[in-house]
Amino acid sequence: MVYAQPGTDGAVASYDSQYENFINGDWVAPEAGEYFDNPSPVNGQVFTRVARSQAVDVDKALDAAHAAAPAWGRTSTTARARVLEQIADRMEANLEKLAVLEAWENGKAVRETLAADLPLAVDHFRYFAAAIRTQEGTSSQIDNDTVAYHFHEPLGVVGQIIPWNFPILMAVWKLAPALAAGNCVVLKPAEQTPASILEVVKLIADLLPPGVLNIVNGFGVEAGKPLASSAKIAKIAFTGETTTGRLIMQYASGNIIPVTLELGGKSPNVFFADVLEQDDEFLDKALEGFTMFALNQGEVCTCPSRALIAESIYDEFIERAVDRVSRIKTGNPLDPATMMGAQASNDQLEKILSYLEIGKAEGADLLIGGERRIEPGLEEGYYVQPTVFRGKNDMRIFQEEIFGPVLAVTTFSDEADALNIANQTLYGLGAGVWTRDQGTAYRMGRGIQAGRVWTNCYHLYPAHAAFGGYKQSGIGRENHKMMLDHYQQTKNMLVSYDPKPMGFF
C-alpha cells in the first residue's frame, strides 16, 4: 500500500490551499498580504502557499507573546505539564496523518516519519511534562541564620528558528522545553518546510492560552532576521549553519541575550577490526550502522558521513558494506517500503550534485552511486543515489557537510590513528564507534571531541540523552532536561534570619 498524495482520493490527510501566521491564538494574514509557494520535493509541484511575513508581523507576534507571558509564567508546573501531555496525546491520535503530511512536505520516507519523527515528537512533550514536574530548586544553608534559595523562573519571550530536515521534530525539540519552563514562544519554521508544523498547530491550538505559542512564516532575511535581532526576545535558539549561527550570535550580542545553536557536523563512524571477528548479529548491526548515512537522505546534522575502517579488515568489510548500501530501497517516499526518499529542495539537490563532482575531481574512488536518481512518475522530484566514496580525510568531501546521502570512507592503522582522523574536523556533534572491546569503546568515546558518541549503535534520539556540539557544532544541549536551564533564569534569594545588624556602619 502506497499512501495517496495529501488532498487526493484516498489520502489520509490534506493540506489547506493557503496558510496564515498563528498569532495570539488566531490565524492572521501577513500585513503586506504576500505569500510564497511551497513545493513538494516528492514531485517538485507546488501544493500550498504560506504567509510571507515581514518585521511588522514578527513584532505583532512578539507583542502577543509578551501579553501572554506573565500569566503563562505563573501557571503551575502541574498545569503546564498537563498541557504538554494533552499536546502529546493529540499528536499521537493523529500520528499517521502528520507523518504523511511531513513526508510530502520534506520528501523524506514515510517509513521514517511513522517510526521515528512523530513518535519521538510525541514522546518529547511527555518527557518535558515529566521533567518540569520533577524539577526542584535548591536551598542552601550558608550559615546558621543565612539561607540561599534558588528558584527557576522563565526567561519570558523566546525566539526559535527551525530547520527543514525534521520540520516537526526539530520544532518540538525547541518548543517542549521552552513551554514547559513557562516561556512564550515566537517560532519561525524553515521556508522550505513551513506547512507541516502549522498542521500540528491546527491540532493543538485550543490547548494553549492565546499568545503562548506564535508561528510566523517567511524568509530568513525578511522574518528570521527581525526575530533574531529583536530587543523583545530574551533568548534565541537556532539550528542551521555556521554563518547564520555567527550572525545570530552577533545580533544577540546587541541585546545581551543568550543563544543556543546547533550547527551541524561531519561525524566520524569508526569500525574497529574486531567487528569482523564473527559473522553474527553484531556484525549485521555494524553494517546497518555503516549504512545509516542514508537515513533521512543524509539530511541529518549528525549524519555519519565519514566512515573510518580498520585497514586490516577494509577489503572484506567494504565489500559487505557496499552490498548493504546497494540494497537500500529507494522510491516514492509515500511507499512505506521505501527507505530513502527525496532531498528537501532543488538547491539542496544541486549542492549535493556539486559535491559529487568535487569528490570525483579530487580523485576519490567512487564505490557506488554518484549520480542524480530519477524516480519513474516523479521525474521532477529531487532524488540522489546513495553514494560511497573512498578517499583521504583532507579532501573536501570529508570536511564539509554535504547534507545528502554521500559517505566518505577512509582507513586507519591503529586506535591512535583512528582517534586522530576522527578529530580532524571543524565540528564535533556526533560520532559512532563499533567494536567488541569495551576498553577500546571507552577510550574512543572519551577521546572523540563530539557531544554525542554512539557506541555500537547510531542515529538513536531518545529523550533524556543530551544532544549538542563541541567545537564549531554549536552551544547548548537539547533533548535532555538540562535544556530547561537554557530556557530559565536562576533567581537567588539570599535571606538572613538573624535580627542583629552586621556592624559595618
Partner: protein, 121 residues
C-alpha cells in the same frame, strides 16, 4: 590568479539585489542544512574579523570565509553560481526563489604557483 569568480547569471542577480539592499558581501557558510553555501548580506551586516579570510571580490562584493574552513578549501577554485531554490539563513536572494551556490574545481599546478595569499580579516 583569482581564487573566486562568479557566473554572469549570478552577477546579474547581485546587481538586482544591490539596487534593493545597497552594497553587498558574501560569507561562505559551513555546517548543516544550508551550510556549505555562500551567504549574501548587506555589506557590514555580517562582522568579519581575525577568524576570517578575504578570498577576493566578485561582482563588486567581498568574498569571505572562516580561516579554519579555508584550510580545507584552499586548493580549490570557486565559482559563485545561482540555481532555483528556496534558500535559508538570512541570505538576501532567498525571496527571489533563487539560491547562490558554489561550484568548485581543483587548481592546476601552474595556477597554484600564481595564487596570491588571502587577506586576513
Amino acid at each position: 590568479m583569482e581564487r573566486v569568480t562568479i557566473t554572469d547569471t549570478a552577477a546579474s542577480l547581485v546587481e538586482k539585489l544591490r539596487s534593493r539592499h545597497g552594497p553587498l558581501m558574501f560569507h561562505q557558510s559551513g555546517g548543516c542544512c544550508d551550510g556549505s553555501s555562500p551567504m549574501c548580506f548587506p555589506l557590514g551586516d555580517f562582522l568579519t574579523g581575525p577568524s576570517d579570510v578575504l578570498l577576493g571580490t566578485v561582482a563588486g562584493c567581498e568574498f569571505w570565509m572562516s580561516a579554519s574552513q579555508f584550510a580545507y578549501w584552499s586548493h580549490t577554485h570557486l565559482t559563485v553560481d545561482v540555481v532555483p531554490g528556496r534558500g535559508s539563513g538570512f541570505s538576501v536572494e532567498a525571496p527571489e526563489g533563487l539560491r547562490f551556490l558554489i561550484r568548485s574545481r581543483l587548481f592546476t599546478d601552474a595556477e597554484t604557483e600564481e595564487l596570491q595569499p588571502v587577506t586576513p580579516g
